[in-house]
């Protein structure tokens, strides 16, 4: 049984720059911020190391942080520039009964994270969902397609905060 802080200290020694910081003091939940391009290495270590054995990925969740700069042009249309997306990974060890939350933050222009679907197969569909809803690209994912929305949905990523639903989809009126 290890706390998030213990795990952070060990990861920091082992992976140095790949582990960015410990976000403690967030009410009810601490998490560790990881470099998106080295996430798979950290996760492989956490899963295979005998001290941690994080064998179960409980949840993977994309989040739009909605921290971009919002501008309104003369014709009244809104435009958002910049901003970040995050992905939260909730891990647990069934045998050792401890839990940890990892997170990565990526820019909305280039939302790329290494996939962990090789580490936990359950990540496969979760990552597809995060791609579908937020447009986060998971590098090395075996089959990154939309999962809940139609495959030919072209209006963007619904759970982004600046998403606007289209007028028509396949000739059908969308707003009801």
């Amino acid at each position: 049984m290890k706390t998030t802080e213990d795990i952070f200290n060990i990861l920091k020694i082992k992976f140095a720059d790949a582990v960015i910081e410990l976000k403690a003091g967030v009410p009810t939940e601490d998490y560790i911020l990881i470099n998106p391009f080295e996430l798979d290495k950290v996760c492989t270590f956490l899963k295979n190391s005998d001290d941690y054995k994080f064998d179960n990925m409980m949840n993977l969740s994309g989040v739009d942080n909605a921290n971009g700069k919002k501008t309104t042009s003369e014709d009244g249309t809104h435009k958002t520039e910049g901003g970040t997306l995050s992905v939260f990974y909730h891990l647990e060890s069934i045998s050792l009964k401890h839990k940890i939350t990892l997170a990565v933050t990526v820019s909305i222009e280039k939302p790329e994270v290494t996939s962990v679907s090789e580490v936990w197969r359950s990540a496969d569909w979760h990552e597809r969902e995060a791609f579908d809803m937020f447009g986060i690209i998971f590098l090395n994912h075996p089959d990154l397609r939309r999962i809940l929305m139609p495959y030919d949905w072209e209006a963007g990523y619904p759970l982004r905060k600046d998403y606007e639903s289209p007028e028509f989809y396949q000739g059908m009126k969308v707003p009801y």
Binding site: M58, A66, E129
Partner: protein, 371 residues
Amino acid sequence: MPLKTEEMVLNMGPQHPSTHGVLRLELQLEGEIIKAVKPHIGYLHRCFEKHTEVMTYPQVIPYVDRMDYLASMYNEFGYAIAVEKLLGIEVPERVDFIRVIMGELQRIASHLVAIGTYGADLGAFTPFLFAFRDREKILSLFEMTCGGRLLYNYIWVGGVSHDLHPDFVRLTREFISYFRPNIKEMNELLSFNKIFVERTANVGILPLDTAINFGISGPNLRASGIKWDLRRDDPYSVYNRFDFEIPIGDGRMGTVGDCWDRYFIRILEMEESLKIIEQALDQLPEGDVTSAIPKRIKPPVGQVYTRVENPRGELGYFIISNGSLNPFRVKVRAPSFVNLGIMDELCRGHMIADVIAILGSIDIVLGEIDR
């Protein structure tokens, strides 16, 4: 001259009686042998998570009812616990007990549908009618409590909407004594029926390490032979006060983790749920059930991931609050969504008819998968 063979693609669904909803399975076949299964989901997608961002916290509750529509009580239960943790409030003891009673009744109702429809999928129609007859009694208990039969809006943040009906305890006890012999009857009708066993034993074997790696939870995980139940291993509410067993798959009819094990776990769990309900009714404290309901729910900035043992597995709510009246983000970790991901792994090398047996044994609800 060798005969040329080629693989065939067959669509099972979206409208197929044994896909339990609108699910399309794209089967790659070589003759009658499954080479690969690609599930296509999203036919019921309503973007629940987007809806929540424009609603206040209590307004979300009727929506969570509509995810797993066979276990609505449990969806509310999980959501209420998550928001309470975010708010940092405690609920009165009576509320906890009522929630546990409702949750376990819901588990029985949900397992009855799983068992009944599983029998119907495999050609045994009578158990289906028997299961629905008994489930009807549970729905009547729910109706008496909150007016709804399937969608309740009963468990609120900080409490429940109504106190129990004065007759509830008596009628629930009557239900328990009525229902217990019916489990035995179900075993005689279906569980040990030779045809049923032939169709399910040694089919779709799920080894434990694969199950964990795929994130399988609930009865499907326990059927692979591990005592892992969030009610005991990550206790929430008042579950640590009750004495109950956690049944696991033992390969009685074939191999550990086959379809029959996954089916039979649900039968055993109904018995355990009855035990929990009995104990909860005995200990049910008095008190006001609405006193802790906050007038205005405005959690502080923060995030929380909580999970409960839904009839189908680990139901998780990841809620981020930015300090306003609406949730900033609600992500639901739906057990069926994760469990369905195992289809390809389980079906490879089996016959087409076994796909039905395997899909039924996983017990999915499409409303929750598509959200």
